[in-house]
């Protein structure tokens, strides 16, 4: 966990209201792991007050990258940043994906900007588990919302897409593409996207043993365990307990969470 002043190197649009940002922040780049996140301060002033939690989309050569959607004032200010601007960053934070296991296939499932953590994971799998098949199942509203699709086509061994309007790939939901990969328990799954996508995956996994880690994206004020705001319901026998996703997550085995109780903000 480091506090650093990063320097923006690249900040370019990758689709409607979505951007890719490369920040020069060598200390963080050297230690970040796929699935971790960082708290990025979008303004020097008091409004917005807190930082924004962003998935680390890649970390290589002294850079930390973020793929983010503009959803409010903070990310709006972030989108206006120019190369050379300084941006305070706290991180890397949270539990990385538990991907260093032998698997027949690693299957990443992303909805829209939920693809943010996956360039890093796909590259790590390519470099650290050569010869293993890595599949990206990628869904979005339209082709335009399949952000950085070319990057995934380069990093993953196979990309399957789904769009709501049929403008690219399967006409329907990304989770419609999942079933063929659930038959073999040696396939490991990783997912990030909106809560309804998690609920769909949770239902489809019933009766299957595939490990499946999801990366949750709740509202966070601090990112390091102080505020108790970013909780998710974790299974506790027949009951559940709220746990801080900044500390115990943001990646969780989906069966450890009560996905059915998660809100859909």
């Amino acid at each position: 966990m480091l506090r650093n002043m990063g320097i923006v190197v690249v900040n370019r649009p990758i689709g409607p209201d979505a951007f890719w940002m490369d920040v020069e922040v060598p200390d963080m780049s050297a230690v970040a792991l796929p699935g971790q996140f960082a708290m990025v301060k979008c303004s020097d002033g008091l409004d917005p007050l807190t930082s924004r939690p962003l998935s680390i989309a890649d970390a290589v050569d002294g850079m930390v990258s973020f793929a983010y959607a503009v959803v409010g004032k903070g990310t709006g200010l972030l989108a206006e940043m120019q190369p050379g601007d300084r941006v305070p960053i706290l991180g890397p934070l949270g539990r990385p994906f538990d991907y260093k296991h032998a698997a027949k296939r690693h299957v990443m499932i992303a909805g829209g900007i939920g693809s943010a953590p996956f360039p890093f994971l796909a590259r790590a799998l390519r470099d650290e588990a050569p010869g293993t098949e890595t599949v990206m199942l990628y869904g979005g509203r339209t082709r335009d919302y399949l952000f950085a699709l070319e990057l995934f086509e380069e990093l993953a061994t196979k990309v399957e897409t789904a769009t709501d309007d049929g403008s690219h790939g399967h006409h329907g939901l990304v989770t419609d593409l999942l079933m063929p990969y659930l038959g073999d328990a040696a396939n490991r799954l990783y997912a990030c996207g909106p809560t309804p996508m998690f609920k769909s995956i949770d239902e489809k996994l019933e009766g299957h043993d595939n490990p499946c880690e999801i990366s949750v994206e709740p509202i966070m004020a601090c990112g390091f365990g102080a505020c108790y705001g970013c909780v998710v319901p974790k299974r506790d026998g027949d009951d559940y307990q709220f746990v801080k996703s900044c500390e115990q997550g943001p990646t969780f085995e989906i069966r450890d969470l009560r996905v059915d109780l998660m809100g859909s903000h």
Partner: protein, 308 residues
């Protein structure tokens, strides 16, 4: 600056400097901040509120940003006293400074039940009684909205523990000085204020509230002017020391609260924005006191000059 005396006394509790952390903003034990600074530089660490039994807390969303402020509806999530003693208490000795436990109950009896257990806890230097959390009771009600209830709860706690007692007041009352006097009469060593202001946020397109409870508590720089005013009023109304809380981001904000009469302060929401906010305030305070020619914190407290 080496000559500036930072020590302050809150009744029976002595702090090496006036900077404390505010309950609920410093993790569960403060260990969350240990990677960022040495907690022993602080005047005191105030832990997250403990209740007799575990509380899951409120369903998300629990926080929402507003202009220069933060609404929260956490709901006093905590493991309950027994598990807290096993899991959190042992971590507190690592702080290396005063540790203030913070307690709350849903009934007066629950406050008393906890108060009766405090003297057996090692490494605790004072108790702050949270009679002002807006996120646990119906419509944001709490003992700190009624002078009689305030006096009953604080007196009951004072009678059951040898620890110095701090009463944490709510700003959501017509006249906070009435409540402050009740806490003083009940034997509180010090009074801390403000807890969060009641507020809400709504989503107009969906016609829905942001929070399940509708109401939430507002903190951050947005509330500082109101907090300063209430701290000044209470400091004028009671003779026990006052701990100022509300939107303190840095040492200059600390100076403002000292000036209107606070003997000590608590840094809250700033901890979320900058993990070293409280430590930075401790570092910068001597220079600001020296700048105004104050030889000590005590010299400067309440020295606001008003033309008649």
């Amino acid at each position: 600056m080496a000559g500036v005396d930072l020590e302050v006394k809150l009744g029976r509790l002595t702090l090496k400097n006036p900077v404390m952390t505010a309950s609920g903003t410093f993790g569960g034990s403060g260990r969350e901040f240990a990677p960022y600074f040495d907690l022993s530089v602080l005047g005191a660490v105030v832990v997250k509120t403990i209740t007799p039994r575990p509380r899951k807390g409120n369903p998300p969303p629990r926080t929402h940003e507003t202009a220069a402020g933060l609404l929260n509806s956490i709901g006093l999530m905590n493991p309950g006293f027994e598990d807290w003693c096993d899991e959190v208490l042992p971590l507190l000795s690592e702080a290396g400074t005063n540790v203030v436990i913070n307690i709350a109950g849903e009934t007066h009896e629950e406050y008393f039940e906890l108060a009766a257990r405090l003297d057996e806890l090692p490494g605790i230097h004072a108790v702050e009684v949270n009679i002002s959390c807006p996120n646990v009771a119906e419509g944001g009600a709490c003992p700190a909205q009624d002078p009689k209830k305030t006096e009953m709860v604080i007196r009951g706690v004072v009678e059951r523990t040898r620890l110095p007692v701090i009463a944490k007041l709510s700003p959501n009352v017509a006249d906070v000085t009435v409540i402050a006097r009740a806490a003083e009469a009940a034997g509180a060593d010090a009074i801390s204020l403000v807890n969060t202001f009641l507020g809400t946020a709504v989503k107009w397109r969906e016609r829905r509230p942001v929070f399940r409870n509708v109401v939430a508590g507002l903190s951050g720089p947005a509330i500082k002017p109101m907090a300063l005013w209430l701290v000044r009023r209470v400091a004028d109304a009671v003779s026990v020391p006052v701990i100022g809380i509300g939107g303190i981001m840095n040492a200059e904000d600390v100076m403002e609260f000292l000036l209107v009469g606070a003997t000590a302060v608590q840094v809250g929401t700033a901890n979320f924005v900058n993990p070293t906010a409280a430590a930075d305030a401790v570092r910068d305070l001597p220079g600001l006191l020296a700048e105004v020619g104050a030889g000590s914190v005590v010299d400067y407290v309440g020295s606001l000059r008003i033309d008649q």
